[in-house]
Amino acid sequence: MTTTTLDTTAEEAGTLDDSKLRSVLGNRVRPDRPGAVSASLTFGWRAMLKIKHVPEQLFDVTMFPIMFTLLFTYLFGGALEGSPTAYIQILAPGILVQTVIFITMYAGMGLNNDIKKGVFDRFRSLPIWRPAPMVGLLLGDAVRFILASLVVLTLSLIIGFRPEGGVIGVVAGIGLTLVFAFSISWIWTLLGLVMRTPEAVLNTAMTILFPVIFASNIFVNPDTMPGWLQTVVDLNPITHLVSAVRGLMGTGAETSDLIWVFASSAALIAIFAPLTMRRYSRL
């Protein structure tokens, strides 16, 4: 510890150089403002740097999916489908969707933290495309989504998942999941701007996500559920997303499921992206 203190003092002594100061101020280079894509990518790069500096945050995109996949496969596999190997064929696409959708809520927490720390003031006072900080945040999240998908997929393959759709089907399934994840994230960005603490964002998001995730066809076939619940499950976009991903990774997706997924994604963006931006500019 003593060494650290000494180091700090030494660096603290690194004084301001007046002539250098005047020269950096005199350097009045004023480049053209960057485009929307470039600004968003810069924020995406920031998200990557944060993963590099705080790798602990990857815990939830690696350990949780592993836990869930193993638990559900071996606890329920025999009872539900006769054997864990038979069950993983149905569960793998579902648990992939579940994993990715749960991670989306961290976008709201991250945003809320940025606002509390004050760094968002700086972003908001820059002459850049206004949604760039949010879009960049979601681009960074895409990397986490893909990582989590790969973890689930690899583990599922190891314990017996054999997707008939092959590489193309699997990639398409993950791609579709990312589209929906990107769309639903705008709910959390809005929450992140409105709520006072990251914990409040997390709690609210959990309260919304839990019933939505479980009242779906991820874990069981809805045929055995009471009629009213079947209606709920059938209206749940997650159900259609899971069906579509199963289809893509299997023998082919129903057009109606794909339409449901794209339509609900478009609706989520159309409603929550403008609300987020409105709130952002009036923060």
Binding site: E12, D17, L21, L25, R46, H53, V119, R124, I128
Partner: protein, 328 residues
């Protein structure tokens, strides 16, 4: 087109039933350092945030460098910089990464961004700390990286919100040097402060703000003239002597004498330094032992007392500011 760097007319911002900024009129000419002086919760930060396009005014109008802060916010943003009260940098990232990120967002290409970041870190004495995360920086270093972040593209106007609050004297001096360099370069500076001596050191003109209103405006010497040349602080060796001393101060200086809560410290307004010299001799002759004495500038409290007739109401105002923060 206005020739003023900043002009506000009847600027208002309301949080709930708290009129945080209540009709502020300012006229700031280019190239000057303008100080907003006031206690916590007076409305300084809210005013500066509206001018930096971070908050929307609820009433009145404001132009910055000739552009309306609401309708032409983007034009304002491209020519000003803001350094907030809390370091507006990413604590998880290193100094270099923060500056490179901002340079990229301001349109520098990769190589240009890196060069600019290195140049800034060097000039601000942060070269050795360039690759450390900001969360490991000291308070003074944070302030410097924050200001460096504000001049990645040298702005025409810079807002500094309480740039030295919480800094040790050396770090404070460093920030003052930066402000002076900015001015020498022709940048207009609007800073807020709670310290009269800071406003005195840096600002060409000062507006004293309280309860969201400007209650006085002028140069530092004009303000001080309205308060009195200075404040005399005397500390005596015991409470029984303090009473005697208090009476002598009243007789000699004529004004109000404040006895501090410790019972042995006294302060009074002293317009005439020669009277003070005589008073010290009188105290000594009367056998009142003076253990400490100073003749200094009036404090913010004294300015406030003189201007408003009431002392700084710090506690209640702090609550307001916290509410304001929560609304953000």
């Amino acid at each position: 087109m206005s020739e003023l760097a900043i002009e506000t007319k009847g600027l208002v911002k309301v949080f709930g039933d708290n009129r945080a900024v209540d009709g502020v009129d300012l006229q700031i000419t280019p190239g000057m350092v303008f100080g907003l002086l006031g206690p916590n919760g007076a409305g300084k930060t809210t005013t500066i945030r509206m001018l930096a396009t971070l908050l929307r005014p609820d009433g009145g109008s404001a132009t910055v460098l000739g552009h309306d802060v609401v309708t032409e916010a983007d034009k304002v943003r491209s020519r000003v910089s803001m350094t907030g009260q809390y370091a507006s940098v990413d604590e998880d990232l290193t100094g270099t990464e923060n500056l490179v990120m901002l340079a990229r967002l301001l349109g520098f290409d990769k190589a240009g961004a890196k060069a600019r970041a290195a140049e800034l870190l060097d000039a601000f004495g942060l070269g050795d700390a360039a690759d450390r995360q900001i969360k490991n920086y000291s308070g003074g270093m944070r302030r410097r990286i924050d200001i460096a972040a504000s001049i990645v593209v040298a702005p025409d106007l810079i807002f500094l919100d309480e740039p030295t609050t919480g800094l040790d004297p050396r770090s404070r001096n460093q920030v003052w040097n930066v402000v002076r360099a900015l001015v020498a370069d022709g940048t207009t500076v609007l800073l807020t402060t709670q310290y009269l001596d800071e406003a005195d050191q840096l600002a060409d003109r000062i507006a004293v703000i309280d309860h969201g209103k400007v209650i006085a405006e002028g140069t530092s010497s004009e303000l001080k003239a309205s308060v009195g040349a200075g404040a005399l602080h005397v500390r005596v060796s015991g409470p029984e002597r303090a009473e005697r001393a208090e009476q002598m101060l009243v007789d000699s200086l004529g004004g109000e004498v404040i006895r501090e809560s410790d019972g042995v410290s006294l302060s009074a307004r002293a317009d005439d330094p020669t009277r003070v010299a005589a008073l010290l001799t009188e105290l000594s002759n009367a056998g009142v032992e003076v253990t400490e004495f100073s003749l200094g500038q009036p404090s913010l409290d004294e300015v406030f007392l003189a201007l408003t007739g009431h002392p700084v109401e710090e506690e209640t105002e702090r609550v307001d500011e916290r509410e304001e923060e929560a609304v953000r």
